[in-house]
């Protein structure tokens, strides 16, 4: 069998003898403000409702035998019960608004409420994508303004706004590259990807029918132009590189790599996940890239929402501009319009197709533009500097108690540690992360990038005050020292104070229960 992607044997089941702390048992199972909330299927009823609808018009149904007569099984709750149910659920969630997220590669910065207010203006939130364009000129103007900002910040020539997430943006960039090769009649089947890349990169390449050739990193985690040159050939369609890379370092030979890639007739796709390190300081276009997706939910603060929605617009160089997908916004004497069909194109345009219905995540465009207008050019540059400063401050104050895989060198907006400082303690990266939860912190990114053992990737962002950073650092120092002092139970039993203790992921995968049913989990598992 292949070597497992992650062979660091992370425990997925809680230890058998892990007993709970001797907290007093209550009748309800609640613990003061910490409430045990059942599922809607356990408290609601199909005959109950929390909405008051208008009266039905005087008309008769025409559905006949197509009408849905069988019970569906959807519980309803009154409005007060609904409010309580979801407020109680919300209290079991960690969030940026309540604490720091040191999550490397995620850029968990402050989500401003101004952005929410702007997105909810009726002129943005209550307009339909297929209204006549004469009735939505302000919306198209906003999309053009956002495009202008993204192009100025990246130094690129065209932007596709339609991708709905970062991975979707990667697909967009790679589809454009493939279209460019097809248009030139060149049939190349290989994409170069560093071992340290995020899994979406090789997945996207494979999805497109490419085979992936892996690039090794140097001792310090970066990719050398020699390695790239050796891997290049007439069969290589593109390289996919993250810059700054997944180890938090700027690729120093990125420009030489771009030249080598272009000389070999290939394209340079840049994963823009770490753009927050360089906004206003470096323009990726100057480095020679051909396509880069931008995560509006990372760099431009649109909220993570518990897992989405995101937005992943893609900027293109002149070489790829012609292949950008439909639809896009155009402007002429009559105002703004959408170019939505092949018949509306100007001569040079050769879009590879359409990625989604309608034209993109307008709600996220409004939020991102509000962010950009608020920060301004000076504020965005300052934000990148503060992000890099904060990560290096964390590095400087933890490097004597935690271990860095590539020696002590400045990082960009995120700092990478490995688990060598835990060797011999019986505490793994996972255990360490769970102990952070008890201390009131969301864990850092763990076990990524895969090229480092027990990786811990920390990205504080520019949104943290110095006292918040200090508190985080002191906590990490305490935990590192506690692990080395042999206080193992603090880690292996953790978390002990969260709404739930460690959950049995093995059981969840062996006996998947993905919808509610009347039988108890214990019965089903037998």
């Amino acid at each position: 069998m292949t070597t497992p992607m992650n062979r660091q044997g992370r425990p997925t089941r809680p230890a058998a003898d892990a007993g709970s702390e001797a907290a007093p048992q209550t009748f309800t199972g609640n613990r003061a403000l910490d409430i045990e909330e059942p599922l809607i299927f356990e408290i609601g009823g199909t005959d109950r409702s929390g909405v008051d609808l208008p009266r039905k018009p005087a008309a008769t149904s025409r559905l006949g035998p197509l009408a849905r007569n069988k019970p569906i099984g959807l519980p309803g709750l009154s409005e007060p019960e609904t409010m309580r149910h979801y407020v109680r659920l919300s209290r079991n969630n960690y969030a940026i608004d309540s604490g720091l997220y040191p999550l490397g590669s995620c850029t968990m910065k402050h989500n401003a409420r101004l952005n929410e207010k702007m997105a909810r203006l009726p002129g943005f939130g209550d307009v339909h994508p297929l209204q006549p364009v004469s009735t939505v000129q302000g919306a198209l103007a906003l999309m053009q303004t956002l495009s202008g900002y993204l192009l100025e910040l990246t130094g690129m020539s065209t932007v596709a706004l339609s991708p709905k997430a970062g991975a979707h943006g990667e697909l967009c960039g790679m589809l454009a590259i493939r279209a460019a090769h097809d248009a030139a009649g060149s049939d190349r089947s290989v994409v170069l990807v560093p071992e340290s890349a995020h899994g979406t990169n090789p997945a996207t390449a494979a999805f497109m029918g490419y085979s992936v050739r892996s690039l090794e990193a140097r001792e310090d985690g970066t990719v050398s132009v020699e390695t790239v040159r050796e891997a290049l050939g007439p069969d290589v369609a593109a390289i996919m590189l993250t810059n700054p890379n997944t180890c938090g370092l700027f690729e120093p030979e990125v420009s030489e790599i771009a030249d080598a890639v272009h000389d070999a007739g290939a394209y340079f796709y840049c994963d823009g996940a770490n753009f927050n390190a360089i906004v206003g300081k470096v323009r990726p276009g100057d480095l020679g890239i051909d396509a880069m997706h931008i995560n509006l939910h990372k760099t431009f603060s649109t909220p993570h929402g518990g897992g989405g929605p995101g937005a992943g617009p893609v900027v293109f160089s002149d070489r790829l501009a012609a292949f950008a997908p439909l639809p896009y916004v155009a402007r002429d004497a009559g105002g703004f319009r959408f170019v939505e069909h092949a018949g509306e194109l100007d001569a040079a345009a050769m879009p590879f197709g359409r990625l989604t219905a309608f034209h993109g995540q307008m709600g996220m465009f409004v939020r991102a533009l509000a962010y950009m207008l608020s920060h301004g050019a000076d504020g965005m540059r300052q934000a990148s500097e503060d992000a890099v400063l904060a990560a290096n401050y964390v590095r400087a104050r933890l490097k004597d108690v935690m271990t860095q895989p590539f020696g002590d060198q400045p990082c960009m907006h995120e700092v990478l540690f490995d688990d060598r400082f835990l060797s011999g303690t019986g505490v793994t990266t996972l255990d360490f992360a769970k102990a952070m939860i008890d201390e009131g912190f969301h864990p850092m990114t763990m076990y990524f990038p895969l090229v480092v053992h027990g990786a811990m990737l920390i990205e504080p962002t520019e949104s943290e005050s110095l006292s918040s950073l200090d508190q985080f650092i002191e906590t990490m120092r305490f935990l590192a020292q506690a692990a080395r002092a042999g206080d193992t139970a603090r880690f292996t039993d953790a978390p002990r104070l969260a709404p739930r203790r460690r959950l049995d992921e093995t059981l969840a995968a062996r006996k998947p229960r993905l919808t509610w049913s009347e039988t108890q989990l214990g019965e089903a598992a037998e």
């Binding site: 909405v51 409005e79 997220y101 939130g125 302000g138 497109m208 897992g307 219905a357 005050s465 995968a509």
Partner: protein
């Protein structure tokens, strides 16, 4: 700058701790020719008040659906979202929370995802559903890929009534995947036509119900034929409120159901963010794309929820992932589940009835307008197509200038088909009043009565 807490004194202290003289020392890895000397060529920071003014002035140039008689559908629908929904999704712990990879401190998110998955499975009449996808169109494209993995056949047939955007997305994603997509003509929608299009090489047939022209059909015979030939039936639903009134795709024999969930809980938002629903038969679980939330227990034996079966996803499988998708549409799924909980089954049925009857009332009024012919066999949910006596796009433009948003001219979606130039797709929902219906009918009558300029 109010979002940046560090003060100049803080920065100096931090630099000293690091041992760097200047912030640019920390950018030393960037070759100096690429490090910008100063900020980009964009305006500097502005006050909150100024930003509000600028964006409000852009918003004011758009006609909001709530301000006018509104009949635009075709894949996104204007419904009333209760105030409770928008309030709850703005709670910090929902809005600003990360993906629930640390389940011990994200049971809020995980529990609502579990409830959402159950609601979606029941609504669609299927056995299992995922935690949502970007939108209906990408969910449908992923369903085609999933059918390919299951049947090991590369031929996908798309019914003529599939939303043209959905068709385009499937064709774009299939280009390099070696999927052979056969898209039937836009009006090729009759059950017999669909059955005739399925052969022994077909991996799946994708049928939208109600279709883009608004027509509702019983797809049972299509499912039977597909299964007899070894193919899967994928049903796409762009108006999810219809599932409160029409027999579910699961009942009709669908193998995979995809839907656009925007109609419940989510506003129009000019096209996004929306929420894709994805449901399938239990036996196909391991071929499903997207995130899945599952039930389990913790170390104390208490019930809890976790993301599960992650080995299908790309960050683990890398080259062998079942899809390129990394994320779901979390907050939009939350809005959907809250609204559906508020509605409950009775409320959803009432809402669906309201929508259907609003469309019936509108159709009755429009039937009486000279120059308006309602197309199709008469069974629609809340949307139908009319043929006007003159090209539809200019009529819609004229009505927009009078403050009525009359619907989507088919030419907006299918410009290369001149035979549809006079066709207009009109949606009706619970937001329409008698006065709105009156206004539309009168305005159409007036517009159609005009003689063309010489």
């Amino acid at each position: 700058m109010r979002y940046l807490p560090l003060t100049p004194a803080d920065r100096s202290r931090m630099l000293a701790e690091i041992g760097a003289a200047d912030i640019d020392d920390l950018f030393a890895a960037v070759p100096s020719e690429f490090l910008l000397d100063g900020p980009p060529d964009l305006p500097n920071a502005r006050s909150e008040l100024e930003v509000e003014r600028e964006l409000a002035s852009l918003a004011a140039r758009n006609t909001a659906a709530g301000a006018v008689p509104f009949f635009v559908g075709c894949g996104a629908y204007r419904h009333h979202v209760p105030a409770t929904v928008d309030h709850l999704i703005q709670r910090s712990e929902f809005l600003t929370s990360y993906t629930p990879y640390q389940p011990e401190v994200t049971q809020g998110t995980l529990q609502y995802l579990f409830e959402f998955q159950t609601q979606v499975a029941r609504l669609t009449g299927m056995e299992v559903a995922n935690a949502s996808m970007y939108d209906g169109s990408t969910a449908t494209a992923e369903a085609v890929l999933m059918a390919e993995r299951i049947t090991r056949r590369r031929k996908a047939v798309l019914a003529g009534g599939l939303h043209p955007h959905y068709r385009d997305v499937i064709e774009t994603l299939s280009k390099y995947n070696k999927t052979a997509v056969t898209a039937l003509e836009p009006r090729t929608n009759a059950i017999d036509d669909l059955i005739a299009a399925i052969d022994d090489e077909t991996g799946c047939i994708v049928v939208q119900n109600p279709d883009v022209f608004g027509a509702v059909r019983d797809l049972t015979r299509v499912a039977e034929t597909a299964h007899a030939r070894g193919a899967l039936l994928i049903v796409a639903v762009t108006e999810v409120v219809s599932l409160g009134a029409i027999r579910s795709p699961g009942e009709m024999g669908a193998d995979i159901v995809t839907a656009e969930g925007q109609s419940i809980g989510n506003g129009l938002n000019f096209g996004g963010p929306y929420v894709g629903l994805f449901a399938a038969r239990q036996k196909y679980l391991r071929q499903m794309p997207g995130r899945l939330c599952g039930e389990t227990v913790d170390a104390d034996g208490r019930r809890g929820f976790v993301l599960t079966l992650s080995t299908r996803e790309q960050h683990i499988r890398r080259e062998k992932a079942t899809s390129n998708i990394c994320t779901n549409s979390g907050l939009c799924a939350l809005a959907f589940t809250i609204h559906l909980t508020l509605l409950g089954e009775k409320g959803l049925r009432d809402l669906a009835d309201l929508n259907h009857l609003a469309a019936v009332a509108l159709a009755e009024r429009l039937e009486a307008v000279p120059g308006v012919e309602i197309l199709g066999d008469g069974v629609f949910f809340n949307e139908f197509t009319v043929r006007l006596a003159k090209p539809a796009a200019p009529v819609v433009e004229a009505l927009a200038a009078k403050g009525i948003l009359a619907g989507v001219p088919v030419s907006r979606l299918l410009p290369a088909e001149p035979r549809f130039a006079n066709d207009l797709i009109i949606a009706a929902t619970e937001i329409n009043t008698d006065a709105d219906r009156h206004a539309l009918a009168d305005a159409l009558a007036e517009e159609l009565a005009k003689k063309e300029p010489a």
